[in-house]
């Protein structure tokens, strides 16, 4: 009981697909939690898990020890932080767990430092499944001190790692997306080489599983490609947005990453027709390049 009494008060801002299960994990871990969501009704079911659902942003954040934001994108985070500024006080910690640009994280941090409020960016990987299970990969950018303060909360939601100063959490998240998107595209090319070269793509995949080619992408997205099952999962439009942010971060850092630049183009080429399809639809982009030859993986119908 005394342990619960010592827990910091949390304000959780953004009770969406990800925010809802993340806030639920914090409540289950015994944190007192006030919640706010732009569409108030969506946050209401969180009251059943013990949250105090507030109608105004000010009421939610005022007097909290730690404010967590989980929002759509960087510009939204900036707007919401601007709106909460009058209600924040020195010594509070704001943790943005949304996926934003590195530069946006740095801007928000500067905005908050004027009120002596500490900031961390801590984007996550693992999706709704990871959020519900409390197994998110949490990539945190900020000071050692802030990380220590946030660590117990993070551990209620997943597996946290401090990767560097403010903004570097976002960079680590982009590295994750770079590898995920790049590997999907590479696996798509391999599947089509098997098909075009007269090997059974399913047998090829089975044969190479567990070796040096093994990856979560070969396991999950490889199977989706074989089934032509493009129901999301992670959507093409998210992957395209991530790759745009990756290329922006690379440009900011003066870094050339030519393979990733090509992967970004590949995902962009799918935006018009397949924005809401799963990332595995990278296969469709490679098939499109080869449509003159009629090369296509298998005979199953596409499912969306």
């Amino acid at each position: 009981m005394s342990d619960i009494a010592k827990k910091p008060e949390i304000a959780f801002i953004g009770i969406g697909l990800m925010g809802f299960p993340m806030a639920t994990r914090l409540l289950q871990a015994g944190y007192p939690l006030r919640a706010w969501n732009r569409t108030h009704e969506k946050a209401l079911p969180l009251a059943e898990a013990g949250a105090q659902v507030e109608k105004t942003l000010g009421k939610a954040v005022k007097g909290a020890d730690i404010v967590i934001t989980m929002l759509e994108a960087g510009p939204v985070v900036k707007d919401v932080v601007k709106a909460m500024l009058p209600f924040l006080s020195a010594g509070m910690l704001v943790i943005d767990m949304s996926s934003t640009k590195q530069s946006e994280a740095v801007e928000v941090s500067q905005m908050l430092s004027e009120k002596q409020v500490v900031f961390m960016d801590a984007p996550v990987s693992g999706g709704v499944v990871g959020a519900s299970a409390g197994t998110l990969a949490i990539m945190a950018g900020g000071s050692q001190e802030a990380f220590k303060r946030a660590e117990p909360l993070f551990k209620a939601m997943g597996r946290p790692t401090l990767v560097g100063p403010v903004g570097s959490g976002q960079i680590a998240k982009l590295c994750n997306q770079l590898i995920v998107g790049g590997t999907v595209a590479i696996v798509a090319e391999a599947m089509l080489l098997a098909q075009a070269g007269g090997a059974d793509p399913a047998a090829m995949r089975q044969a190479i599983r567990g070796g040096f080619a093994e990856s979560r992408i070969l396991e999950l997205h490889g199977q989706r490609m074989l089934d032509r099952d493009f129901k999301p999962g992670g959507q093409i439009k998210s992957q395209a947005k991530d790759h745009a942010n990756i290329m922006a971060a690379a440009a900011d850092a003066g870094l050339q990453i030519p393979l990733t630049a090509m992967v970004a183009e590949l995902f962009n080429s799918l935006l018009e027709d397949y924005a809401t399809a799963d990332q595995a639809a990278a296969l469709l982009a490679v098939e499109k390049i080869n449509k003159d030859k009629g090369i296509r993986l298998g005979t199953a119908e596409d499912r969306f």
Copy 2:
């Protein structure tokens, strides 16, 4: 004893780094085995494991039930098969476990069919470690009947999968190498984005392990990149050769795979200076592109 008596007689041709442990596995499984190697002395230690080491190719293959070749490359396989032709007889099975072009496998198969000798291509993945442990991934191309005949032998050496007709084993192997080389290059770009963007690359990798970005390459080659440990492992010159064969197979099939084409160029750019370095040296190729900005992963010295 009667079981051993029924086992087919094997001629194993090519007792090199891979062939030696593979032949040893067959001997341990109780197969009567005659061995031949161009450099006779290298095959001699196999006698201790029970092999009959022959001085001539003809003596090794004559009267065998199944001939296995494990040689450097396609042209060598063609030469050796040509040389053994006079000593082969109808009904024998020749299995080439070397890595060759698909077209070379088809040529060898045609050469043998004139003598009513059956052929399979069955290249492997897993390296010397996998060969010694009997855990090779074996990608077999040929008829169902030939596969059934070879399967017990294959199982003494690893995990076999029939992937299609003659030549398709080579295609599956190339698909494996396509994914391996492509993933190494993608991971290299991610590592440098972390570095250039101000995140700790080691912490970034730690944070994303176990998620959708997880792969054997991130695990093994990712660590080698952080350590700048480029001692092989799989060598750049092999990867470059594999990628040349991949692009040749794609061209034969009329398939365009633009990402893989770029990966092939990447490995080619390392041939002059780093031919015998590990594949993880893909990192050096991306660093080379960015040398004007002085972007380099960490401060460790390169090890070769």
